[in-house]
Subunit: 253 residues, 4 copies
């Protein structure tokens, strides 16, 4: 028999029945936290310990970072233009790129590859230095001791969820003399609880969607439509006003 | 003093400090569930009862509906084209429109306006009939007794979170002889716990982002790139092959 | 036989053959301007007169409006976060909402409905006044005599493309003592050349995509990554720093 | 003086004045084609020869490829969910990723780097073979002799716009015994007319937006809302229905 065009192992739907990874959705609603559901969806099985709780802490850590985050600003401008809520949120989600949460995926991939291969911290640092790139997950422009990172790492250790990935991440930070940042902490912890780096950015996305929703509603309910920069704040450094070249000056009528 | 261009009541950031609605983020991480955080973000205060738990049930209810949901299909096609995870998710979020989760916002607005004004169910139904429109939040193409709705409504009552909005929604359904669907149940419950209809779609969006992430990763890791329809499955009903009109046949060389 | 799931009258593809509305794509490339193609795609037939040329004028009119346009700002913030070009452009496209180009669709619908039904300008104005709404397509916050509008309207008349829709739009403006703005001019002209209001926003979108692409590339090549607002430019007006309520202060360890 | 937060060389706006690269927009509307404008925007100067015409041919080549293109399918599903036109188009734009038009950017970068450095075709091919990757811009799953590519290359030569980049692209194809595809042809030609690879995808995006708009309108006007896959077309290969583990079966009431 040929392969179906539409194929999935994630969920199944029938009349009055929805299965998520085999479990009935109403059972999950009754028995699980949202953190458990995220773990189940990405791993295929429910947590055996506090994995769901540490995921809820991760999701709580990154909902908002005020206008200092390009994702928030993106959503504010888009929302001001008169669009549905989900479209304003989607614009902000698009902005969660390589320089904005993307370090979770990058760092988790490095950690997972290195732990599997037994690569030491020094080798990782050297390979980034050779390419004149910074190791993702280390350092922060504002926070010298990010309270989110401190809390996450402490709880991961307390709940025995920390393992070789988080340890490696901390070692890299120590050798670089840089604090592990929130992206690096999340990368280490999700790797230690067995989640593939492919899902790395998801944790930031799920979390930030809450903040984006609130900023979109605040924009629409508290500000005038069409958020506009003042003309006097714009610096134009292109060519001065000029005439079209002769060949473009048509006498058309 | 003039108004600042960037103004918010949602969060504040300083060095090594992030406040969400006035609370330090590390305290929220330690003491609250993700459901509490959603409530706090949208309402401004932490729950006094089980509001956070019912929000987690809502978030658990709608993560995935297999390929029967256009949002999932949108993300699958987009992800197959070779784009970052957040972009694939954003494409699916865009698809959470008027016919796909939008009923939460529409229904919540109706319920909140009606409860405030004392409008009875019969009047609401009549006004929709006059415009030949269906009341949002009622009926489902597949589920005659949606297990998600049943569970949500039961818990809202058990936890004393149900009030006039959910009651009104159920009354409308009863008079129309249609089951309250998942959108209608969410609309009634969030209204009863005091959340503005402006946030209505947010609950579906936060929830569905989990499923979209999983479908995007499944597409990338289990399927070949560039999901393509087979030529033989396409029906073309436009004009047959034809020649350009004479005036467009230039002899240009 | 049952309806195909995938059905279209727009284009057909076979081996070494692509038909657009029945014409071979290579013939269109040879004989037509891009303006002709837009007209063909939306109308089904090639222009009989200067319709393609007026469309190119419309497309030229709206590529960029500097940072005064939320769409441009949206793309700049998104692009700064390290994402592919098409994702940065998509973020800006999302922002082309009701208050930002949306007036083309709204105004074209009004004009097309009114011309069909014979509704006079005064009736349209009255119905908007009753709903305390502004008629779309009239007035501009900066431009008292928008050079784009002036040029478009002059050429539409010179090329005998103007008809009852543009005339009605101008009449509405005259009675309101407001200049027709660029959205209103485009709405009138596309209606007169027979294009459905459903396509209204498309003209702005196709045009603006050029400017969004240029702004995204300028952001990436001329600015530092992660466009960040300065902390000192943000005004926070939410609750002051506070302690969690007692019930959230868990002694968990 | 400090750098302005908002800075651009692309356009300037004042009352009743809009400059694009220094030219008044009304002059551009009068004297230029849309192809000229795209060239001006990306290069900073107006074309000296047929560059604007070849750009219009490129824009005409790629508006639509029926349901065989994931971008089209993405927009169809999104549009069916009840969203504004620009949001449906944005969803399709997001899907123009590495495997779907992305080869224009990749190939243009390779060609521009190689021509500058004098790298021969054989070296490029070898470096891709070593990484077990395919050279972008070569070969097509359906078209053995793509009529778009044939036409573009012929006109570029006829108009003396072809140069070392297109020649190198053809050489790579010849050595691989693969036809240059539409992405590779566009990459070679835009490089020869002096446009940076950063803009590569833009040509496909501007073009495809026309087709996406038409497909979105066709979906909304010709199909029922909420495009849904039939249950029977879905293959589920996840775990069978199962009970929650004991620790998740709460006795909560």
């Amino acid at each position: 028999m040929s392969e179906a065009f539409w194929k999935t192992s994630l969920s199944a739907v029938g009349q009055n029945k929805i299965l998520i990874r085999g479990y009935r959705v109403q059972d999950l609603m009754e028995g699980c936290t949202f953190g458990d559901i995220v773990y189940l969806t990405f791993r295929g099985e429910l947590p055996a310990g506090n994995e769901g709780r540490i995921i809820e802490m991760i999701l709580t850590s990154s909902t908002d970072h005020s206008f200092l985050a390009p994702s928030i600003d993106t959503t504010r401008f888009a929302a001001s233009a008169g669009i549905p809520l989900q479209a304003a949120i989607a614009a902000g989600v698009i902005a969660l790129g390589e320089h904005h949460g993307g370090a979770i995926e990058q760092c988790a991939k490095i950690l997972q590859d290195a732990v599997k291969a037994g690569t030491p911290a020094a080798d990782i640092i050297r390979s980034f230095k050779e390419r004149k790139q910074r190791v993702p997950g280390m350092g922060h422009p504002i926070h010298t001791s990010d309270p989110r990172t401190v809390k996450l790492v402490a709880k991961a250790r307390e709940w025995k969820l920390a393992g070789p990935h988080l340890t490696l991440a901390e070692k890299i930070g120590a050798e670089l003399n840089l604090p592990l940042n929130i992206d690096g902490a999340i990368a280490g912890i999700i790797s230690d609880i067995g989640i593939s780096w492919h899902y790395g950015k998801s944790f930031f996305i799920i979390s930030r969607v809450v903040g984006l929703a609130a900023h979109a509603v605040e924009e629409v309910t508290c500000e005038r439509p069409f958020r506009a920069i003042d003309l006097s704040d714009v610096q134009y450094d292109g060519p001065a006003e000029r005439e079209l070249p002769a060949r473009y000056r048509r006498n058309e009528s």
